[in-house]
Symmetry: C2
Subunit: 386 residues, 2 copies
Amino acid sequence: MRRVAIIGAGMTKFGEEWEKGFRELVVEAGIKALDDAGISGDKIDGGYIGTMASGRLIGQEHIGGLLADYMGLNPLPITRVEGACASGSLALRQGFMAVASGMKDIIVVGGVEKMTDLGVTTVSDILGGAGDQEWELFLGATFPAIYALMAKRHMVEYGTTEEMMAAASVKNHKHGAMNKYAQFQREITIEQVLKSKMIADPLKVLDCSPITDGAAGLILAPMDEAESYTKKPIEIIASSQASDTIALHSRETLTGLNATKVAAKKAFDMAKMTTKDINLAEVHDCFSIAELMAIEDLGFFEKGQGGPATLAGKTALNGEIPINPSGGLKACGHPVGATGIKQAVECVWQLRGEAEGGRQVKDANVALSHNVGGSGATAVVHIYKN
Amino acid sequence: MRRVAIIGAGMTKFGEEWEKGFRELVVEAGIKALDDAGISGDKIDGGYIGTMASGRLIGQEHIGGLLADYMGLNPLPITRVEGACASGSLALRQGFMAVASGMKDIIVVGGVEKMTDLGVTTVSDILGGAGDQEWELFLGATFPAIYALMAKRHMVEYGTTEEMMAAASVKNHKHGAMNKYAQFQREITIEQVLKSKMIADPLKVLDCSPITDGAAGLILAPMDEAESYTKKPIEIIASSQASDTIALHSRETLTGLNATKVAAKKAFDMAKMTTKDINLAEVHDCFSIAELMAIEDLGFFEKGQGGPATLAGKTALNGEIPINPSGGLKACGHPVGATGIKQAVECVWQLRGEAEGGRQVKDANVALSHNVGGSGATAVVHIYKN
């Protein structure tokens, strides 16, 4: 297996980008990634694009063909992959495998979602397709309800409080306020979170990641060629993916995601590392409770200690293990197909020492990204090194 | 690169399968493929599933997670890929790459679509998402209209006639009448095609593939392990994919698909073969004109000679080059995500000498499958050998 490096990274601003269509977003991210790598499209051998629900959101499927066309890459093979909110990381993983295997050399991978052209209830219904349509969504369980069930159980089993969950949102908004690409570049307080509108008890609106437009892109190359393109190649030292049941009711526990645990173990084994070696992590905080579960399932904290650790500031920029320096899904926004790639872009910037706005993690040499599909039927973990 | 073999193949009956849901279809095909390979799920290392529009057709995305769950394969990584009507072949291609690269050993690949629960106009609109939503579908150009434009131009440039196109449908129905998995197991005549209801001039309803439910699955393994599972491993000796513009208006020609030409050239180069070495081909006949263009673009006949060759019976079961012995998309039906895998299943059966009902091609040693996404923004070609 060849070593694989990220040689280019770029993203659009995340937000309600009403002036930009799906095509503009994905092309902007792709061109930024190419520019960052200092290469032109004729060096590319193919690519992968992650998007969850373009069919329902904009009426367009066949996103691989569309991207090849609008990036001027015809007749190169570009393939769309989909794993709900983990679609971006699945694209990265397919690209990693293509380069690692020696089947391809220079690969573009991207993620995109254009979500704000439809109403919130419609989008919520569409997102429900990431869970079990027949046994959850059809019966009314949209995602806030599904994660609320997990939150309630976590509170019962471990004494997690609404303040602890709120602390994740507050910390992520603080980070997001330093990120010019974030949807919400402003700080919030625990009191504001607790007083914000109830969505699905105990989750308030400020416990929830928003609906967002955005795209992000990366250029991958074999490590031994990477230095001819960039002085700061970032190596992907682990890539893993695991599955779990699509519906919550089939799981042994509601307080953690088995797919995250399995993917994390595989990734740490592949990287020959432990949580102690990780300097920062971008984790999947689609809801505040999801971040608490993620930092437990990934092994940064014992089960049940994610909440207290977050409230104590251990996951802040200057804490024990900085979590979501980008602002996470909560503050950056969550254009579902783009999120996995955005996490990787943030890791690249952090490991290059190029994170702007005061959010650079000191001595960042190893980073981890964790991307979840739906309520955890898919989890993808990558580890990066400078 | 390791040699890759197909060690198991299976499919559901294609048709209006109102008694079976999406999940039943995909599980049935997967279990048939496993049974055919004589292995159980614990031998599997992962998989890929192709489906085009499950989000819009049944409200369910995250098909990789769903499949891992319903096939009992958790926590294995299963990834959905999408390339419109070429989704199935893209799944096969990803599986091929995973095994060829040595990154995975035993892989399940599948394709599925559940289409008949919605009305025809709704499904037609959904399928339009395989083309250019903004510049074609939004303006009313559904797929029959898009292929009608190609047909008209082919008639003008090469003298192709409606009879020649009809001959493709007649031949495919003749083959389908011998295939117990086909949606339409009955013969039709050229006169019936010509007198059938006009859909988009010059395409009549019997020039068009139908709307269909169905699923198909394959088990892949390294060639050097394949013989421990089956006495008749079928080797995949070429896999290629190419892209073209998503919209028809951007192309140099309307009378052929450049993606098919590029993918065919790459596949023949990879297999070190020419059209002369191919004993049968499953090609993408979403419309009768599409088959005529395919057999030209693949190189079986000169440009403009696809129609006369078809009318002369050169593509019949006992002709120069048997095309679509399964009955093709026209008679088998076209559950879009499943079609690419079904083509491979037919090639496997033909190369094993197991094609039933009188449709076995004599001395079949090398077969080719050709799967198109949309109006040709993606084309995928595989070549198989016994």
